[in-house]
Symmetry: C2
Subunit: 321 residues, 2 copies
């Protein structure tokens, strides 16, 4: 049994090599570049954890974990193009450094290489791993499209937002857990519980992410809060405020969204507080966390084996702070 | 045994359905849109032909043929973004109609759905089909990158150009043939001959394509020749001229490439003719055709079974005209 950080390090050791041929360098160097920007490798560690919950980590688990991490980075490259983001992890995005066309192609080829790693798994598991991987990949694309669709709409319901977030960020974590469980030989029921564990954990993480962007301590959060507010980004907080505001509050909210008030962040935060958003968001995150942990509890293995997954949940949701 | 047109129609009948879920329509309608623009379905027909050369067409062959056609359309959507092309087959390109971000995502999800069709093949064949599909997909991405790289360079050697063209357009036809052969139960040797048949056929087709863009009869070719010349596109013709021109001719060529002479097309064609490019291109196409047919001949099945493939070669290379 390994801790999250041990598994993350174990994966990183194997992962930190070149994943592409030398030729054509103008295509593969940009693909390799983003992998060098680091990251916590949460999803590949989740694959290894899902596996180890049921048995020794198999060689296949590293192939699947690598496929998942490459898929994740493919989606980052393409999302950054769509968002016209200049920076990622404080470094130039791929399209900013190498141009949009090359970034587009580097993302494409990274997705193909993800499938190459998947193809290396044992033939007995390949069909079911590939099936889940494909379904998940479609979901991630749908989530990104919905996110763009929502930007153009005046209002989005909480259910719609949760649906979008689930696809855009949670299903990949959920599928990582489940693919690990498959590799460990888990039955269908246990696989499903682990999928739901990952899914609800992902949603709770997004609630926290939205919360911290508004109410986070800059010293801890690492950046000035209010970025989402300045960008009029639909978040858990904004949506709840829109859904619960009084007519007067709603008017103020609409004026703030439409205008360029220099005090926009402060005024929006006051509005959020007046609508009780802070406590609501904390409770919502807790609700998803509790559901996640219930699914983990329902996995039919000795509870001691679940410790690393519980630890991962605590780490992602900052429950040690 | 079916002719090319019969197989193309047989495939089209199955293919002309919606390949995507109804939701999220903003993502999947654009993906479905490009499939409705038609096309000769050469590659999927090649899968069916490769299969039928060795045995009855299996259900798996339709899955693979669909995967190949979806992959081809994924690459068209993304290439059109990179090329900023407004039209495809006389209709708006996907990015022109739905915006670049959605086109990017629609291409991504189409690639994933291609893998979904592949995943439906029998488990015994899936690993080897997936392996060849992945290698081919990487090659196509490399080819597109090389094409963009070459645009920025002053000169490209003939070998480099053939290498790029092989990756960008020939390996997918070659792999379609080989995957069909796999489905028909062909041995390794026969598979390789069929791959080489498709590869050389693809290169011969590209020689012809470059040739027709310069010397084609507008009434037959369907558009005014000279598009490649006006775009300073590196083609078989331009590269051969650069490699064989006398110093004086080379100077004239460089001046034409650098300037905006209103007589550019006519003057370039004169230069091509002076360098004997016309006959050279016809002979080059013939060379690749002959090599392709040699590989078809080397496939160890009764020669009568090869008739549809020979017919496809004749059709693609206009040997009936």
């Amino acid at each position: 049994m390994h801790t999250f950080s041990a598994l993350s390090a174990l994966f990183e050791e194997r992962f930190s090599q070149r994943h592409f041929p030398d030729h054509t360098a103008t295509l593969y160097d940009p693909a390799q570049y983003i992998l060098g920007l680091g990251g916590k490798r949460v999803r590949p560690a989740a694959v290894l954890m899902g596996n180890e919950l049921f048995g020794d980590i198999s060689e296949d688990a590293y192939q699947v974990a690598t496929a998942i991490e490459l898929f994740h980075n493919f989606s980052l490259i393409h999302d950054d193009i769509m968002d016209k983001a200049p920076l990622r992890r404080g470094m130039q995005t791929v399209h900013n450094r190498y141009g949009e066309s090359t970034a587009l192609l580097a993302g494409d080829v990274m997705l193909v290489v993800a499938y190459q790693y998947l193809q290396k798994t044992s033939p007995a598991l390949l069909p079911s791993l590939l099936k889940l991987f494909n379904e998940t990949a479609k979901g991630v694309c749908e989530g990104q499209q919905l996110d763009m669709d929502f930007e153009r709409r005046a209002t989005v319901t909480l259910d719609e937002y949760v649906g979008m977030i689930t696809l855009k960020t949670s299903v990949l974590l959920a599928a990582s857990m489940q693919m690990g469980a498959m590799l460990g030989g888990a039955g269908e029921g246990n696989q499903q519980h682990l999928y739901e564990f990952g899914k609800h954990l992902g949603i709770a993480f997004q609630v926290q992410d939205d919360y911290l962007d508004a109410f986070g301590d800059p010293a801890v959060f690492g950046k000035q809060p209010g970025g989402d507010i300045l960008a009029n980004k639909k978040t858990f907080l904004l949506i709840h405020t829109q859904e619960t505001a009084s007519p007067a509050q709603r008017q103020e909210l609409d004026d703030l969204l439409a205008g360029n008030d220099p005090q926009k962040v402060e005024k929006m935060l006051s509005l959020y507080r007046a609508c009780g958003v802070e406590a609501w968001a904390v409770a919502l995150k807790e609700k998803y966390y509790t559901t996640a942990m219930q699914h983990l509890e329902d996995v039919a293995v000795l509870s001691g084996r679940k410790q690393p997954l519980a630890e991962l949940a605590g780490y992602l949701l900052q429950r040690d702070k």
